[in-house]
Amino acid sequence: MWSGFPLFPEQASTLASEVDHLYFFLVALTAFFSILIATLIVVFAIRYHRRNPAAVGAPITGSLPLELMWSIIPFGISMVIFTWGATVYFNMARPPDETLEIYSVGKRWMWKFQHIDGQREINELHVPIGRPVKITMTSEDVIHSLYFPAFRVKADVIPGRYSTVWFNANKAGEYHLFCAEYCGTKHSGMIGRVVVMEPAAYQAWLSGGTGEMSLAARGQRLFEELACHTCHLPDGSGKGPSLVGLFGSQVKLADGSVVTADESYIRESILNPQAKTTAGFQPLMPTFQGLVNEEGLLALLEYIKSLQPAGAPGAPAAASTGVETQGERTSQ
């Protein structure tokens, strides 16, 4: 049991050292004030240990300058920590523009990962070194939380909505991947490993896939199976609006408001189409609740993301296969 007795987690992402610097600062601060208070208590307790049972203390009631000092200085220090912590948090909340996108679905008690190119993994995630990775996640049942201690990031995975987490791994190796939000019986078994690989090794791993369809291609097949394509014609002449160029655009709704067509909007429009009807179209679309699972939704989402107007940058053919894109597609 003594084999390997680490006291500090590995640093394997660009964010890790940012978090650790703040941590060390706070450890030093905690040590300083704890030792200060403990020393004062011990020194006073010994120095002023009563000499006889009738002794009384000095008639001191307080000191305004001291009160101000030990209110204002801690407040100042805490504001430094606040600003520092908020800065790190902003960096965690905002992924860079260019990221490698991966999807994940949590369910009791496993993590499913879906690469754009088609590879699917369970409780194991392969990522390249030196490239920001953004994971878009949802849950099939209860709240989970995807946690990579070596990257110092986690985010709750919540049923009915998408959340994201991003990191830029900078050290090859295998690290823990945990579920951090209690989710029932096998919560502590909802773990796995993240494998950080050199870019070349990662490419080799990618192309070593089983020739599965890309996620967008799977989405397209589902799009046809569910007969979405009978109404959502590319030229907008169908009963439903065209989905070409939809993702990321501003959509005018029947009630006059405008929404951004992001992941959550597309998800809602599939499961609860009447919630936000596009202006100029009848609310005819039936719900697909129960007909398509979370992974199917992600495939549809990825397909819709891939529908870019001809000539738009980064617009692959709708039915591209994994071999063509090789994980090169990036988010907008």
Binding site: V19, Y23, T30, I41, A54, S63, S78, V142, G160
Partner: protein, 537 residues
Amino acid sequence: MTTPLLPREHYLNVRYGIKSWLLTKDHKRIALLYLITVTGFFFLGGAFAVLIRLELATPAGDLLSSDTYNKMFTMHGVIMVFFFLIPSIPAILGNFLVPMMIGAKDLAFPRINLLSWYIYILGGIFTLWAVIVGGVDTGWTFYTPYSTAASNTNVVATGLGVFITGFSSILTGLNFIVTIHRMRAPGLTWFRLPLFIWAHYATSLIQVLGTPVIAITVLLVALERTFRIGIFDPALGGDPVLFQHLFWFYSHPAVYIMILPAMGVVSEVVACFSRKNVFGYSFVAFSSLAIAVFGFLVWAHHMFVAGISVYAAMVFSFLSFAVAIPSAVKVFNWTATLYRGAIWWQAPLLFVFGFIGLFTIGGLTGLFLASLGLDVHVHDTYFVVAHFHYIMVGGAIMGYMAGLHFWWPKMFGRMYPEPWAKFAALVVFVGFNLTFLPQFILGYMGMPRRYHAYPEEFQVLNVMSSAGATILGVGYLIPMIYFIWSLRYGRAAGPNPWGATGLEWTTQSPPLTENFPVTPVVAEGAYEYSKREMRVV
């Protein structure tokens, strides 16, 4: 100094028989009813902790099944939070002392006081019933949709227990507020009040204002679970994060329900055993109110990774740092009180030294969690577990132990054995740190909380923690034994064995049912030790 004798008549011997206890309206007897039942829950919650630490001594989940383990930490949390920590100091020491410290004969509503104990018992019965028929496994936080849609354990019964017990807490708070406003002895102005009273006043405000929110929240959980009304479960059109807002709106202030009364104890004990005024009385008093008010505005710091907006997170982070300041002010004032005192090393003071040290570490590690970028990493890990145990066990229970030793002679008229008590204080302090310091490291290394099994590299620290828990358990059993021993064999204490100021020490120990033969008149502040000659009577 002559050897004191027990008074001929006091609240304990004025009537005998089970009826005289179960139908009593005497706040002191009701305090003892709470003492017995709360202690029972403490040892039950502690037994669950023993099983948790035994299981975690090895990486594999080999002692208990996963489901049983999950029930253990849930019931440990539910019982310790709702049935031990929240009622401990207010319902036992507060009940006994609030009227005595302000020179009153009883609380404002003695019947409601008794009612609140019965409500507590009823809530306890529901929860115990839930434990006996199979337990509950949601974690004490009852997070949705797990609690409403996935768990197949006794969520509703436990929730009802928590719901019912909440009313006991509300009624006690209400009773204290009215009593403190209306029943102070002549001359006892607000700024002559003992800080214990200020702390209980602030606590009572939280109990009255906050507890209804948890009551509504667990009721909504029960409704969704029973009737499938969509409130929190997204499958029914609800919002699971809404639950977290509602839950923490009470449950963060609840932490201050646990710690503020302990802070009140610390102020009394520090002043008495250093024979001095509490340094910066008004700052200590107002910091209690500041904590009560700001405590209501920081709940979402439990949700920094739950997908709340970045800007909301910043506001809650800022306010969480702000709420740390009044606590820091208190620690500095207590330390300054020792300066140029005449310090008498007695067990209550040793427990208080433990409190100050451990609370300081607990408070400072709270800053780690309030810092947004750092919280993302340590949220839901053992770092959080260690932090809140430093506050609740290192803080609240240390304060409770200090208070129990300090006022034990007043409650029962007999002294506990001092050397044993000093030994127990030391054992608790050592055991506590050995249990929970390693958990900070485990947390930073990434060990998530509520894990039945864990990777092997975490074992050494877990073994240290389990070993420490054993010592800590012994540290709590020793006082249990000598307190019971002292009831019969302890030396008679006399009215004021500590030579303390405070009205409760001006009357006999144990007191008369009506506390004071004549209503006292107050002419000075609470801690005028340096003005008076030391008198141990």
